[in-house]
Symmetry: D2
Subunit: 250 residues, 4 copies
């Protein structure tokens, strides 16, 4: 999402108070940190005529579909991460991310920064599956962020919520992590939106219908729900525009 230009969009969803709990991937955090530290993802082409991944590797330029990320970005992240003084090696991932966001420099688009400023909890269940965690692990060998604490906190948030709704972008681990927290709750989700290019027939959770989630009790049988088969980079700006328009017109 961040490499595809969605950093500012997600930032604005949070700044405008449209998100109460943010569950994400390690990649989103890593790329957010890169941009926040002043590095950039470069827009490019995927035309076969111009594309040579072997040559890109020689030039230390990593490709993400039609976006290009220089290797030196990782050096910049490493530099920042290596100098951190982490207050507690056994804190939860979300507590760490709250701390980490405060350490980051000011940046008008940073997802981590705005979450820290507004104390929006960020959960990242697969945090160690990321370049950011790799750099943290290399330079803070005793780090053992408590993933189980996050898991239980997420369940408690869902349990205590008077009502809840979910908005899934893509699928994967964040989708399941949100849904498993709702499974045993007294109040399952009363609305649900899913924007994805994944389909049900391959059988994975990413493409599973929201209807299926009703059998699990993750989504309420009376919930309003909608699945949109669409690239999120097209959907999110339109949704944000509509939400802001609705918010300020009332």
């Amino acid at each position: 999402m961040v490499p595809a230009g969605m950093q500012g969009i997600i930032h604005d969803f949070i700044e405008e108070d449209f998100i109460d709990v943010f569950v994400t991937t390690g990649a989103t955090l890593t790329h957010d940190v890169a941009e926040t530290l002043g590095f950039h993802h470069l827009q490019g082409e995927v035309d076969i005529r111009d594309l040579n991944d072997v040559k890109l590797h020689e030039e230390e330029m990593n490709r993400i579909y039609d976006v290009f990320l220089p290797n030196k970005v990782y050096e910049g992240i490493e530099d920042f991460v290596s100098k951190l003084t982490i207050p507690d090696y056994n804190m939860s991932v979300s507590s760490f991310l709250n701390f980490f966001g405060k350490e980051l420099p000011e940046n008008s688009n940073s997802i981590l920064k705005i979450c820290s400023e507004k104390n929006i909890p960020i959960f990242c269940p697969a945090f160690t599956d990321s370049g950011l965690a790799l750099q943290l692990g290399f330079h803070h060998q005793k780090l053992n962020l408590n993933h189980f604490k996050d898991m239980l906190e997420m369940v408690n948030l869902a349990w205590d919520a008077k009502s809840s709704g979910v908005c899934i972008i893509g699928g994967g681990v964040p989708k399941n992590f949100i849904f498993q927290s709702l499974q045993f709750c007294p109040n399952s989700a009363s609305y649900a939106i899913q924007i994805t290019m994944d389909r049900p027939e391959s059988g994975g959770l990413s493409g599973a219908t929201l209807r299926e989630a009703m059998s699990w009790g993750k989504i309420n049988e009376k919930a309003k729900y909608s699945t949109v088969i669409l690239d999120a980079t097209i959907a999110l700006p339109i949704i944000l525009w509509y939400l802001k328009k609705s918010k300020y017109e009332h």
Copy 2:
């Protein structure tokens, strides 16, 4: 994969020594444990005429596309998990899974059991995104399995390997976790297979081409590689059949 009937197939891949390191999702482990404890996934239909997820929820029957899983399976897992005596609350996830596999009853199809028996390392970077981890967390509140240790061990395995190859089923966190371990290695993967229904154009890692991974240095520029756009439940039995045939004919 396990709900779709692939448990025995994956078990056989491991038993036949075709897998050296197994990286997987929490869901695969949870469903493997369910079957290993004697519970079953039920085959069903997705015909709209017969499908009623609200009614399924009332009957405590969870749907996974065309497979059905009774809620009582989770009670069975909970019962087993609650009685475990865990030797070290801060061990790595892979160490825990090795221990856990030994605790499981004998079962001819169990993935966790055969991995433990053959000491094949299992990595599960998003372990807390699973029903198995939920039950563990509920009953062992001090548990803080060290995810960072897994991450570093995986990098060390990749670093020390004289040669390596990867076989990706699906995508998601396991794909990235394998690839990030190869990114900084002296020897990137010399062959790669990817079986998925995901596509490159949505921009996520799951559908990204193996060619793209060359720009990152995760796959060697001289590697042999192939992506198969196919449901893994069709591909895996055919591949296993071919590998066994080739193995025993030589």
Copy 3:
């Protein structure tokens, strides 16, 4: 396209002179005629809770994904078609469509009408694969519209064009019919746009890359081209808006 609300959009592309030659399916023409005669496609839902195709059949309501078309629409088309006096049973399909458009009542959104008014040629290579052709065939048993004449005229148009560009929506027969006319021309297409949800890996022409078409000489090696993996009902309004904006600002 017409059932999904694109009739007015396509009409405007033609009215604004953005289309020189229109190649289409029999379905597009049939649904355009239905709307032009004053019948309507109804917007609906595809929620399993509300959807019962057997009941719809009893109610004589035909479903097109989330659009609903009453059977009586076909009776209306039949009524109109049965009263036609066709000047030449052996004319080409495109000549017939030009004649037919003139016979249709005034309608501000009609694709056939605007094409007739502006003498934009419409080709429909699979015309007999449509409800409109069925009604024509039932009531004008001697009709033998000359499909070969259309094929040769399309080749001549492509041959005589000083330069050409193509915009493909979806794929199927229209895509191939345009491309086969370009295959043997001195001037292959110098630009090409393709908006589709089809993919190359199933091997069909619909999802084939525009790059592949260069090997056939259908698209020029120096052409500018772009494939957009997107639902056309999202893409077309945005493209029309941009084209009109560009046209009137210059």
Copy 4:
């Protein structure tokens, strides 16, 4: 299908009496004729490292995903077609194809030949959308094969059938042509199989569910039906093997 190696498979379906009426595309017929005349499709690679469509064009080698077809094949078809003496310029397409199949040389895999030999009707609603029709049109300028006659014959076949079932491979014009013939029949299809990589959500008929066809009365409400999201080149050999096994074991 023929370029991907399915010629012999489809031939065998017909030879084994598993097909009563064959509805197909112009491309399938063109490529079948090419192979029947002794020309060949060449198997290749789609690795970006080796693929250069501009160079292929210079070498007069047309690409169909990972299959390659030399231009000279079209010259061979032209040569054969130019020498034909067509008995009736206004015959239906299916009558012409029956005649044409008899003219083709003996060939153990030819779809057109086996259909002619067994008098299995072949319908090709978009016949003029093909290289074969182009060559026919260039060399027999008076040709006006009667597409409407085919359309009405197909309706009559469906009308007179005591029972019917459909097997759809892919989608497109053949799917709709079969379904439109069933729409107004006393007996709609009592079973239906659909093997495709297309999906419902783009709204086109190719990916539409078989359930949707029930609202139209094309498929009977009590029909047995199944959609398989799978590349047909994987599905067809397995289905043929199973059908032959079942046939000869009884």
